[in-house]
Subunit: 668 residues, 2 copies
């Protein structure tokens, strides 16, 4: 088995090389004339300025945690934490850098060569992010496992990797989410509604910030988010395997094999993702939506088949394969439900509610969002039941691994969306004409649907990963305190459940308020520029776009701190201040609240967005009607729902669960 | 002790006699001229038509449950169920009948005699409801306890009373909530916004339905709601006392004394409520808000003092008094937090968000609503911790009893609000002039604040009562299965937790959709009447108000069924289909979700309502501005939040908990 242990690291390196090759291919595409290149550079620079300031702030925060971890848990955990934080930050940076390179090239390809090449560039841009996430996760965890995994004494320190990754992810998600939505709302409300100029119009001072936001929120934020779910599911499974009681009569397999399996499956998944990316390229000449679907489903099917081979090879029970299968299928079901709620039936219903004004749009959308939790959560229940019947809590962990194994592919599609979106913005800003814009719009539309599926998938995966981590937390404490039980009728646990339930609501409130406040500043600044810069609206003067990027950056950096600190601090405070039982309750309550709010917010937000688009296509009277205005209100409310507060939920629960798992030995 | 057991029944009778005396006093006030009396009769008849149809539907539903209970649990439980259902329905009917009598008389008193007399009539109208709730609860439970309480074999059948009460309450709350908000939204959107006529204008076809709605939703619905929390807290405490293990070294008291105590405290609370009502009457000549506060706080303080005497008298530990105290104080704290979020700071902030349009009003209000869960839920945590440290789960039950003991007084103030609101409507419709309207408006404003406090209080009490009932459920099953543990790490419990979490979201979605759809029908009907009835807008023709009452009635009756059936059926399906562990998880998950959503919705809704009123008082530009229009959108979204979906949460969890407690012996 000892030589096998090199596999994850090696596969991680292979994945990174593949990502680099694709990056070279993207770079070879032309960046167009000076004007296009200049806009591309502005977006690129804006994004990099934000990332630098965000990561500087993060570095200080991580430093505090590193000191705490070193002091309480030793240098190995601290080292793992640093590795996780660096890997997460690197994944975000790589994805963002390539996305901001790919967007201009997509625009130019759409202009010069047509849809097929444009799709290829945009998708390649996204797939670099996908491969970076998967490879860095494997490389980091695989290497730590190589050094620390063999000895039970040091195996615990690997959890630091997850905590580092999730701490960075939390800040990236929250900060990026605040940035992108304050810029979006500000630019739209003043530009489209008040000044009456089109979206992405170069006269709008907020338009560069809006495009920067797509990158820092939807690319870097999403990347860090999925990265930590991906690593979290593996860490949890390894942790459960290292402490679980193995049934002598009907063993699932040897402990070392069970511990190694998550990494082996993830390595397999990375290969399948590369195959999926090749498939998309091969079918790019056909319909774009079809190509993306073939890539996603193809990689998932190949993974399920190869997973069976891997399970035979490491000699563990076939039951584990069934658990993996349950996770993989469950992820697809949850994604499809998300697709349903953000398309056709519910969307048209919300749009029609616009005929009686914005209030009914909000009521209907919110009701649909709340309804949409039903099937995904029941699907999670089925996955939990099936996988735990087959292989106990370890089965739940492996179901999460199964759901996330082909993350390279799903993430590629997620990151493709903002690249296509940006390409459209650049086409508009540099005046490349109707035809180019039509191509980028068609790519963007496909991206919106796949992004909705990706979001549902991310929530399901995060929930399952968190659950596995919580199970690992309980196992870790039980290993030291055999009578440790999280009984709901124990007031200590019950109080924890309630405290945990508060957290998602409080964090959602903080992030929504942050977007509202930052958007308010942005609105005032854009209004000021329209008022004070002579000739701006007539196109004779240039807006001060950098000032808007600055405002969004400052607001995001300042306001990401309170939610971040709460998420990281609560497990320490509750764990040491009250006790591990209450902390267990907190995790369960927070998990429940996070899943429910995340689904409600993502689906309501997506449905409002598409209801507006439905009207804009000419339905129910089309643009300019009262019905359209009503759906615009819904879309604006949905913005922080789906892109700030909702996505923060995934990470909130994972960061809390991972911090708890890391400090569990101290609490036991 | 055997003679003491007569006390609750006797006190119940005394309370009913007091209610009847007050009713005679209200009846003595004049009903004014023919026009006023006619409008009053229309409202009264509309309300009675709705109640008859609602109760007919309910009767069929209850019949099915009675048959099931008789078959599975014997005639005693079935009999208790019938008693509970009848008592709950009677409380609703009595309250509604007197409220619809008191409203006309309040208008006339305001017109003829001024504010003090108007306050007296309105408050008397509400206090009949308050006393009816408290007295019927005591009478019903006390009598059942007298017959079944002494024998452990039959004591369980008393739970049927709570199940009957809560089943009726669920339908009343949901049906009443759908009725009132569809009428309100419909009448406002077409009348105020489209036709530009004032609120409660007699030309508006929906105006009678709107006023009927205040009665069936806010009086009858609220009455049944509080009634079942009140009975639920007593039933749970009796159940816990009957099964708890009594510490021989440090006993809390004799089992019979512990079982009797909740009824004794409630009897004391009823006396204190009567004192509180007398206090309000005595101070009515002073400022109305002051009089109501003196009544509420006075009765609470006297109750706390007398509770100490009662606890000495039945010879149980003083620790129990401290638990009662924790509950009583906690209820006040939660009420005050609600008052804060629906006044001053948050409200002005939401109103100011209206300057950037309706979307920011919704975002800010929703953020404030989510933030508002923090302190109330932490308060619940403190109550749970303190009371369970003092007296175990029994302490939690007694804290709930302590919070609800003076329900006669708090309910009186809750029911006063809609009476004052209706009086204003009648004054407007019958054209009694500015001065009368000013008086009724001032009474209404006081009612709004107290209603907000009452709502917070109702949520806290319902949560604590539900918790006690869930504890009783666990105890009942544990008594038969000593190894019964609700461990969160058990996949069976965990799956239950998730399923339970879905329910509040699903029920909230169903009820919100119901309001949206019913309001849509109402809007179309009112538009049709304005279009098709010649001379209606000029005041030369009469609107067909009965048709609007019909539409709201039909919609409410039809749409209250799915949420009602789900709430009652889920415990049976999960309990028998999966098992008692999963059902325990469902209850915990639903409790958490219900409390969080109920607080969010009640406070966001109240804050939006008051933000609109804040602008209407002339702030930020006042009526007719874009800011005002934006806050009207917030208010309309808040309507189903605070008066339909939010309040349904309290009963949802209580009805599920009580059904589970009733079927617990079958599951064990």
């Amino acid at each position: 088995m000892s030589t096998n242990a090199l596999i994850p690291t090696l596969f991680g390196v292979v994945g990174l090389i593949a990502a680099m090759i694709i990056y070279q291919r993207v770079r070879r595409y032309p960046t167009g004339d000076a004007k296009v290149a200049e806009i591309g550079d502005q977006i690129h620079l804006g994004a990099m300025v934000f990332m630098r300031r965000e990561y500087t702030m993060l570095a200080w925060f991580c430093l505090v945690l590193v000191v705490l971890l070193w002091y309480f848990l030793g240098y190995k955990t601290a080292l793992s934490f640093i590795a996780g934080a660096v890997a997460s930050a690197a994944a975000g940076l790589i994805g963002m850098r390539t996305a901001t390179r790919a967007n201009v090239r997509t625009t130019v390809a759409a202009h010069n060569e047509g849809r097929d090449e444009a799709l290829a560039v945009a998708f390649f841009g996204g797939s670099i992010m996908g491969l970076a996430v998967a490879s860095l996760g494997l490389l980091g965890l695989g290497t730590l496992y190589l050094f620390f995994g063999g000895d039970p004494e040091t195996a615990h320190s690997i959890h630091g990797f997850g905590m580092g990754a999730s701490s960075v992810a939390l800040f990236s998600r929250v900060g990026g989410g605040i940035f992108t939505k304050s810029a979006d709302i500000g630019a739209d409300l003043v530009g489209k509604v008040e000044a009456g100029i089109p979206e992405d119009d170069p006269r709008n001072p907020g338009v560069i910030a809006d495009n920067v936001g797509d990158n820092v929120g939807d690319v870097a934020g999403m990347g860090s988010d999925i990265f930590e779910s991906y690593c979290g599911s593996m860490i949890a499974s390894i942790a459960i395997a290292s402490t679980m009681v193995i049934d002598v009569m009907d063993p699932l397999g040897e402990r070392t094999a069970l511990m190694f399996l998550p990494l082996a499956l993830a390595s397999t998944g990375l290969v399948c993702s590369i195959i999926g990316i090749v498939l998309v390229r091969a079918f790019a000449a056909r319909e774009p939506g079809l190509a993306l679907r073939i890539g996603t489903i193809g990689s998932a099917v190949i993974f399920i088949a190869l997973a069976f081979v891997v399970i035979q090879w490491v000699e563990v029970s076939y039951k584990i394969w069934l658990a993996v299968l349950a996770g993989a299928i469950g992820g697809i079901v949850i994604g499809l439900v998300t697709e349903y709620y953000t398309s056709s039936g519910p969307v048209e219903r919300i749009a029609r509610a616009g005929e009686t004004g914005p209030a009914t749009v909000i009521i209907t959308g919110f009701a649909k969002g709340m309804e949409s939790v039903t099937i995904p959560v029941l699907t999670l229940c089925v996955i939990i039941t099936v996988s735990s019947l087959l292989a106990g809590l370890y089965g739940v962990g492996l179901a999460a691994v199964g759901m996330l194994a082909t993350v390279g592919m799903t993430m590629a599609i997620d990151a493709y969306g903002p690249v296509a979106d940006n390409a459209g913005g650049i086409a508009e800003m540099s005046g490349l004409g109707e035809e180019t814009r039509a191509i980028t719009d068609s790519l963007d539309e496909v991206g919106n649907t796949t992004a909705a599926i990706g979001k549902g998938f991310a929530i399901g995966a995060a929930a399952l990963a968190a659950l596995a981590i919580i199970a690992a937390y309980v196992e870790t404490i039980s290993a030291a305190k055999p009578d440790f039980v999280l009984a709901i009728s124990d007031p200590k646990v019950l109080v924890g459940l309630f405290i945990g339930g508060i957290l998602p609501f409080l964090i959602a409130s903080l992030t929504m308020t942050a977007v509202g406040d930052a958007a308010y500043e942005m609105i005032n600044e854009i209004r000021r520029q329209f008022r004070e810069i002579p000739g701006l609206l007539e196109g004779r003067a240039k807006p001060d776009t950098a000032r808007c990027v600055d405002i969004a950056t400052a607001a995001a950096i300042k306001r990401m701190i309170p939610p971040g600190v709460i998420a990281v601090a609560v497990p320490w405070v509750v764990g040491f201040g009250i006790g591990p039982e209450t902390l267990g309750g907190v995790l369960a309550g927070a998990l429940l609240g996070c899943v429910l709010l995340a689904l409600t917010m993502a689906n309501a937000g997506g449905a409002w967005d598409n209801a507006k688009k439905f009207v804009e296509k000419g339905n129910l009277g089309g643009k300019g009607t009262d019905t359209h205005a009503a759906t615009v209100v819904g879309d604006t409310v949905g913005d922080p729902f789906k892109d700030t507060s909702g996505p923060s939920m995934n990470i909130l629960i994972n960061v809390m669960a991972l911090v708890s798992l890391v400090i569990a030995p101290l609490l036991a």
